[in-house]
Homo-oligomer: 482 residues x 2
C-alpha cells in the first residue's frame, strides 16, 4: 500500500459527518467469516485494524438460534468437508470440533406425487434417466476442468459457455424429464437459484473452484460431510473475541470516501497519506490507509462510493445476484425417522421443499429436520405470512416423512432474501454475459479498497472455506508491499 | 388510498433526522420525465405534491449540453417517433416543436475493415445474410406478438423464452457470421447490451411494447424519426417550471420509511393516517400519504426501505441491470458529410462505435456527429481516461467518414454507467429467469409506495414515451380511490 496523493487532502480528515471518529491502519467492513478472517490475519501481521459491522452480531451468513436445553440450530452456513482446508484449519485453531452429518439409513426421493426410499446415493428412478444424469455430471466436470479459477474473464475461448444458461445446456444434454428434474434439484441445492438464472460458465467456475460436482453435492466425502459442535457461528464469535474492542457492532456503513492512487495508472507509487479512505457508518467514521469490504457483492454495490466505482465494478455489483433460500428447522422430541431406518435426507422434485437433512445436535436429541426452500420456491415462500410458510413446509415434510412430521415442538426458519445485510443466500451468482466482461472486478482492488467475501474466492467460492481464504488473501494484498 | 394503521404511529411523525421537514399529500422521488409527469398529473387532479430530486437539475436521463452560439447537444434520450403518443402530446402541450432527424444521403456499414456506403435502409452485405436477418426479424416480431405486455409474468407458457439468452436464439436461427453481426448491432442499438446479456423474453416484451422491431430500429417511420427543437431536456424543464417550488433539487434520497397497509392483505381498507410514508434525503424529509418512486429499478433498489421490500421487489431490483452506453458528440464547423452525399448514419461491426447519426441542430450548423458506444464497448470505454476515449471514438469516426472527422472543434461525451443516479442507460433490462418470477414487482405498489419510470411502462418501455405514461399511470393509481 503506502502511497499518497500530492495535492489532495486525505479524505478521512475532511469528512463532515456526526458520530464517533476513529483512525486505524486498516478498516474492515463486515464481521462475517471473510471480514473477521481478514482482520485476524492483519492483526497477526501487526497491523492496527478496526472492524465495522452493520448488525448487532458477528457471523454474517452464519447464525445460531437457540432451541432450548442449550441446543441450537444453524440458520446459515453449517457444513464443512474434505479439501476445505482453510475452514478446517481455522476450526481447529479456534479449539472447535466437528462431528459427522447424520448419514445413516435410507434416503427419500419424491417426484410426481410418489415418495420412494432408497439405499446409497442414487435415487430410485428409471435407469435411462440416471444414466443421462451420470453422463451430464461427467461432461460438466470435464468442462469445469477447463476453467482457470484465477481469471475466467481472460478465457475468451469460454465465451459460448457464458452466452447460455444452465437451462439451455441441460435441455440439449438430456432427453428425459426425470434427468432434468434431478439436474434442476442439483442446481437449486448448490446455488439456491434455477437453471434458468445461472450462466453455464458460472456453474462451471463454481464446480471447478470446489473440485467437482460430486464434492459439491455429496454428504460423505463431500461439502456436507461434517458439522461444527455448537454451531459454525462460534467460528466468528471466537475470532471476534480475539479481536476484542476492534470490532464495532451495530454500525451500518453507508458511504466510503476514497482517493485514487496514482500508482495504479502505471505511475510511480507515491507515499500514501494517513487517510486515503474513510468508512462512514451511522454514528461512526473510521479513517484508514486501506479498507477491506467483506460484503456480498450485491450488498457492497448498495453502499455509496465517493467517487463512484469504475463501470466494471459497479456493473459487476449490478449483475451479481444473491441466491434465494429459506432455511427451515422442524424440531421434534426425537429423530423419529432414524428408528424407521431413514437418514432424514430427502429430495423432492415436487417441492416446495427441495432438500432435507437430519440436523439433530451431536447427541441426537432433540430430533431436527432441516428443510431448504431454494430458488423460485424460496422467493414465493419468503413473501408469505410466517404461518403459511410453516404450513407449506410441514405439509411437504409430512409427505416425505409421514404424519409424525406434521407436529413439531418448534419451527424455526430464516428468510435470507429479506435480510437487508445479506439480500439472499447462499451466495452471489452471475447471470449470462457477466463473467467475461465484469468478472475481473470481483477482487481487483480499487484505490485503497480491497474486496473479500466468499464470492471473491478461487477455492470453494460460495462456501465458508472461500470466505475465510478470501479474508486472508485481502489481508495479504494489503500487507504485501510493507 | 386513504387508510391508516390502527395502533401504528405514522412513520412521518416519528423519524428523527436532521434538515428541513415538509408534509405533502404525495411525494415523488426523481424529477426525470416519469417523476415530473406523475407530479404534473397529480397537480392537475388537485393533489398537493412535492418532488425530491438528487441531482441539481431535472431531466433524469435527458440532458442538454451547450456547445456555443446558443446551440446544444443532447447527452441523453433525444428521439421521438410515430405511436409515441404520450411524448408527442406532452411536447405539444408544453409548446415545444419537433424537427425531422437528418436522414438524407447514403448510409455507411463497416465490417471486417471494409467501409461501404449504401442507399436506403439495407446495408451492403451478401444476400444470404440479409435474407437470414429478414427471416429472424419476422420470427421475432411473430413471437413478440404473443407477449402480453400487461403481465408477461403470468404467461408461464413463455417460460422457455425466459430460459435462454438472445445469443442462443440467434445462434440457432442464423447460419452466417454477417447475419449474427447485424443482429448483434440491433441488440446493442436497442438495449445498450449484448445478445448474451438479455433474456429472449425481455427482448420480445420490449419489441411488443414498442410495436415491432422495425419501429425500434428505423429512423423515418420509427423511434428515431424526430427530434425536439432546443433539446428534449426542455420537456422536463417546462414541467418543472409549472410545478414551481414543489420541486426540490439537490436532495439525494437515502431512505424511505413506510407502513404496511392492511387493505392489501385482503382486509377491509382502513383510513390512512396523514403520513404512512416518509422520504428521507440528505437535509430534507418529506412525509406524505403516498410516494411515487420514479427511478431506474437498479437505483430504486439502492435506497434503504424501512421495513425492507418484499423478496419479489428486492429480487427484481437485484436482477434488473442498466444498459451501458457512452454517448459522444463530435462538433465540426459544418456537417461536411452532407456535401459528400452521406447521411451521417453509420453502423460498424468492428467498433468501438456501433452507430452514428447526424445530430446537427435544425439549422444545420455546426455539424454534429453523434456516436454511440454500447454494451461491452461502452463498459470498456467508460473506464478509460477521457482523452483515450476521445481518441478511440475519433479513430473510428475517421475510418467511417474520412480524415475530416479526425479534428472536431469540440468533443463532448457522457458515460452514463458512472452517473450514480442513473447507473447506466438507455434503461434497465432483465437477464434470463427473471421476468416470470420477478416481473410482477415492476409496478405493483408496495403499501403506500408506487413505482414509475420507463421500465415500468407497457407501451414504449425504455423510451421517453414510456417514462411519461408511467408517471401518469402512477398518479392515476394513487388518485383512483379518492
Amino acid at each position: 500500500m503506502v502511497a499518497t496523493l500530492a495535492g489532495q487532502q486525505p479524505v478521512g480528515d475532511t469528512a463532515d459527518v456526526g458520530g464517533e471518529r476513529i483512525e486505524a491502519e486498516v478498516v474492515v467492513v463486515g464481521a462475517g467469516l471473510a471480514g473477521l478472517s481478514a482482520a485476524r490475519e492483519l492483526k497477526k501481521r501487526g497491523v492496527d485494524v478496526v472492524v465495522v459491522e452493520a448488525r448487532d452480531r458477528v457471523g454474517g451468513r452464519t447464525l445460531n438460534e437457540p432451541i432450548g436445553n442449550g441446543e441450537i440450530v444453524e440458520l446459515g452456513g453449517q457444513w464443512v468437508g474434505p479439501t476445505q482446508d482453510h475452514a478446517l484449519a481455522l476450526i481447529a485453531e479456534l479449539g472447535l470440533e466437528t462431528f459427522p452429518t447424520w448419514n445413516t439409513g435410507r434416503n427419500i426421493f419424491e417426484r410426481n406425487g410418489k415418495v420412494r426410499a432408497y439405499e446409497g446415493t442414487i435415487p430410485k428412478a428409471n435407469p435411462v434417466s440416471l444414466a443421462e444424469v451420470g453422463v451430464a455430471l461427467k461432461r460438466l466436470n470435464g468442462m469445469a476442468a477447463k476453467v482457470d479459477v484465477e481469471c475466467p474473464w481472460a478465457q475468451t475461448e469460454l465465451a459460448r459457455w457464458d452466452a447460455e444458461t444452465f437451462a439451455t445446456w441441460m435441455r440439449r444434454n438430456t432427453k428425459t424429464a426425470t434427468a432434468r428434474d434431478l439436474l434442476r434439484l442439483a442446481i437449486e441445492a448448490v446455488w439456491a437459484a434455477e437453471p434458468e438464472d445461472v450462466s453455464l460458465l458460472h456453474a462451471l467456475f463454481y464446480i471447478r473452484s470446489a473440485g467437482s460436482l460430486e464434492l459439491l453435492l455429496d454428504t460423505e466425502g463431500g461439502a456436507q460431510e461434517e458439522r461444527v459442535i455448537g454451531g459454525t457461528w462460534l467460528i466468528s464469535d471466537r475470532m471476534a473475541a480475539e479481536l476484542g474492542d476492534a470490532v464495532h457492532l451495530g454500525f451500518p456503513v453507508r458511504r466510503i470516501r476514497w482517493q485514487q492512487m496514482p500508482g495504479e495508472a502505471g505511475e510511480r507509487p507515491v507515499e500514501i497519506g494517513p487517510h486515503p479512505v474513510a468508512v462512514e457508518a451511522d454514528g461512526l467514521t473510521v479513517s484508514a490507509r486501506a479498507a477491506v469490504v467483506a460484503l456480498p457483492p450485491a450488498v457492497a454495490g448498495r453502499l455509496e462510493y465517493d467517487p463512484i466505482m469504475p463501470a466494471v465494478r459497479d456493473g459487476l455489483t449490478q449483475r451479481m445476484v444473491q441466491g434465494t433460500v429459506v432455511k427451515c428447522h422442524a424440531v421434534y422430541d426425537e429423530p423419529f425417522w432414524r428408528s424407521e431406518g431413514l437418514s432424514g435426507q430427502a429430495t423432492s422434485a415436487d417441492g416446495p421443499v427441495s432438500v432435507t437433512f437430519d440436523n439433530s445436535p451431536p447427541g441426537g436429541s432433540p430430533g431436527v429436520l432441516l428443510a431448504f426452500l431454494e430458488g423460485n420456491a424460496a422467493r414465493r415462500a419468503t413473501d408469505l405470512p410466517p404461518e403459511d410458510r410453516r404450513r407449506i413446509v410441514l405439509d411437504c415434510l409430512t409427505r416425505l416423512f409421514g404424519p409424525k412430521a406434521a407436529k413439531p415442538e418448534r419451527f424455526v426458519d430464516k428468510t435470507w432474501a429479506t435480510d437487508e445485510f445479506a439480500r439472499g443466500c447462499y451466495g452471489g451468482y452471475l447471470p449470462t454475459g457477466a463473467w467475461l466482461m465484469y468478472g475481473e472486478a470481483l477482487r481487483a482492488p480499487v484505490g485503497p479498497i480491497h474486496w473479500a467475501g466468499t464470492e471473491t474466492a478461487t477455492g470453494w467460492a460460495g462456501y465458508m472455506d472461500g470466505a475465510i481464504s478470501s479474508g486472508i488473501r485481502a489481508a495479504r494484498e494489503i500487507t504485501a508491499g510493507t
